[in-house]
Symmetry: C2
Subunit: 374 residues, 2 copies
């Protein structure tokens, strides 16, 4: 009897939970989780079109359309650049519709370009055809000036500023970590560009800095967002074990990777004993243990009153949507959401409907949204 | 076979883990856990005597001695006040040796005094006899000016300042939460006293404030420590569900409980929709979910290099020793330690040997210490 009972308990513990219409009761909001698209290959980013449709990137190299009625269109959008390469962490990455999309129908996207042995992060834009079947007049606006090999640490997030510029985040390429301290190339930097890819005249003067470099000493920045309360630009980056970090970007900052870090190598060995030096800017947050942050967003909707102004992270290895309560530019609390789903999350965004949209990172990936419970 | 296997797994999962000499590998330190005393009834606080012995309070109303050789003396220290009452959360609480103990042999302690129907928090001091068998010349220095009933929310932590004053933390008494907004009584306050119990001339002027009130609008403050990097005074307090908070105290602050809070009632009902108001000082941290913080300490030893300046919390319901990385007066990261032990922790202190001392809150409570692994 005891054994039967224990076995029954065990079986129950191993059964996957989470009904679609289950109410999640959390500290500042109760919500249900809706699955609005399935069968996407490692979805990486989502953006929202004025007519209620959505664009979703698949890292495997496809740009997909979710129609306004919720249908996932089978045919991907045509017209992606020929030099796009799908290689491990790289492929089609971010997508952002232009702030003036209503007039221009321009769509910006980041991707890995090149070959197995010589590749890097690129930024392009195209004009979305009226039937959303193709990107036309595609222009490559930026290519990282370093041909790296292998498929690691591409960065790849785009953020539009309200001054006509944009940020593109980059990574250190994995095996090239020392290059993060060398501003002559784009590895381990965040660049600031005009929307046509030219370099803003008021970019910081960094000695020997490559075109566009705004900050450097990063490892792999995959989250960027503007704090609506202060206007400051926040980034999140994958560190080594125990070293994921959040930074606030000021022009010309060097964040110190890999000379200083709170992390250690994944095998437990030490990268450096140094945690800080006067010449490096310190993180405003780091995660222990690592959560492996993907995209991040400040919640700006109306649907969740107590979430307004909070920062949300989509975490991969950490398998959490992490909410941070933010006052001014200070993190004052954290809460993990959706941990019961045991899924890797790639991106999180506030939808124009005020719901929180979430991408599940999987070969059979999903788009979820959180909707207030009645 | 399957059932047997599952039952075996289940049995393994239910077995208490943690060998005494197991090395815990954490992000900034590797350590072993040593059990240095057992069989204490809800130990609440520990302090360290110059000769290597230690004083430990049991909430059940006994002051115990751990000899310099590690022996837990069977006979408690005699001489505690007659009006000490052991009632649920109250009893003998904090113990702190005076900064001038080497000359005076004075020991300060906090306790619940009174009866089931009329009780409150008190502060006293006595002179420890040379054989540590008794406290002599015991003087009661402070009694909360409100006779509450039942046994909840006593606060009770003591912190010595370097200006000759001390802080004593108090609670709202549980059923009297509205009194936390009324500075005429001591419920929900932190008081600042001279070491003889008199009121410092430079205490803040609070309208209708009871003698000694330094800050108010607290719920139940059970952690207090000075940040060695900045000199600021940090407190931690139990909130309702989701509302445990850390504050930095400035003279006269009102922290807003129960008018504003991030927490909700334990049954899920709302206390208030308000999170902030201009007249209240905001927390610099709050926990979601609650961890139920007990004592806290900034690590000031030499044994753990990367922990220096970090803040440690002993958590009861949260069953964690939580490390906070602190820069200046900003929390920039957290890490949970000892969660595998599944024990309630009441207090954490840096020992003079640089080891981290921890009290386990249980009817068969323990004193642990963390020692660097070789």
């Amino acid at each position: 009897m005891m054994r039967l009972s224990a076995a029954t308990l065990m079986a129950a513990a191993l059964t996957a939970p989470a009904l679609a219409d289950q109410v999640h009761e959390t500290e500042q909001a109760n919500f249900t989780v809706e699955t609005i698209a399935q069968g996407l290959a490692f979805p990486w980013a989502i953006d929202f079109l004025p007519d209620g449709s959505k664009l979703v990137t698949e890292r495997d190299g496809r740009l997909r359309v979710i129609e306004a009625d919720g249908t996932l269109r089978a045919e991907p959008v045509e017209g992606l650049p020929d030099d796009l390469i799908v290689i491990r962490q790289g492929g089609l990455m971010d997508v952002q519709i232009a702030p003036d999309f209503a007039d221009t129908r321009q769509v910006y996207f980041s991707y890995a370009q090149g070959t197995d042995d010589a590749n890097g992060t690129a930024l392009a834009r195209g004009v979305l055809s009226s039937d959303m079947s193709a990107l036309e007049d595609v222009e490559v606006l930026f290519r990282a000036n370093f041909d790296k090999s292998r498929g690691f640490h591409f960065g790849g997030r785009i953020l539009f500023n309200d001054d006509g510029t944009l940020f593109l985040t980059l990574g250190d390429g994995g095996r090239y970590q020392d290059e993060a301290q060398n501003p002559e190339n784009h590895l381990g930097t965040v660049v600031r560009l005009n929307r046509d890819g030219s370099i803003p005249a008021d970019n910081p003067a960094i000695e020997n800095g490559a075109p566009g470099v705004f900050t450097f000493g990063h490892r792999n920045v995959q989250g960027i967002a503007r704090n609506p309360a202060t206007g400051s630009i926040w980034t999140s980056e994958h560190g080594p074990r125990g070293g994921d970090e959040i930074h606030i970007l000021e022009p010309g900052n060097n964040f110190g990777w890999p000379v200083v870090t709170y992390g250690i190598n994944y095998d437990g060995s030490i990268i450096t004993e140094e945690r800080e030096r006067p010449e490096f800017v310190q993180p405003i947050w780091y995660w222990t243990p690592s959560i492996a942050p993907g995209g991040m967003a400040f919640y700006t909707g109306e649907a969740f009153e107590h979430w307004r102004g909070d920062l949300f992270h989509a975490a991969l290895a950490g398998m959490t949507i992490q909410r941070m309560e933010v006052h001014g530019d200070r993190v004052i609390g954290i809460e993990d959401l959706l941990t019961d789903r045991e899924q890797r999350f790639r991106d999180v965004r506030t939808g124009p409907d005020g719901f929180l949209y979430i991408l599940v990172d999987d070969v059979e990936g999903e788009v979820l949204r959180l909707v207030p419970a009645q």
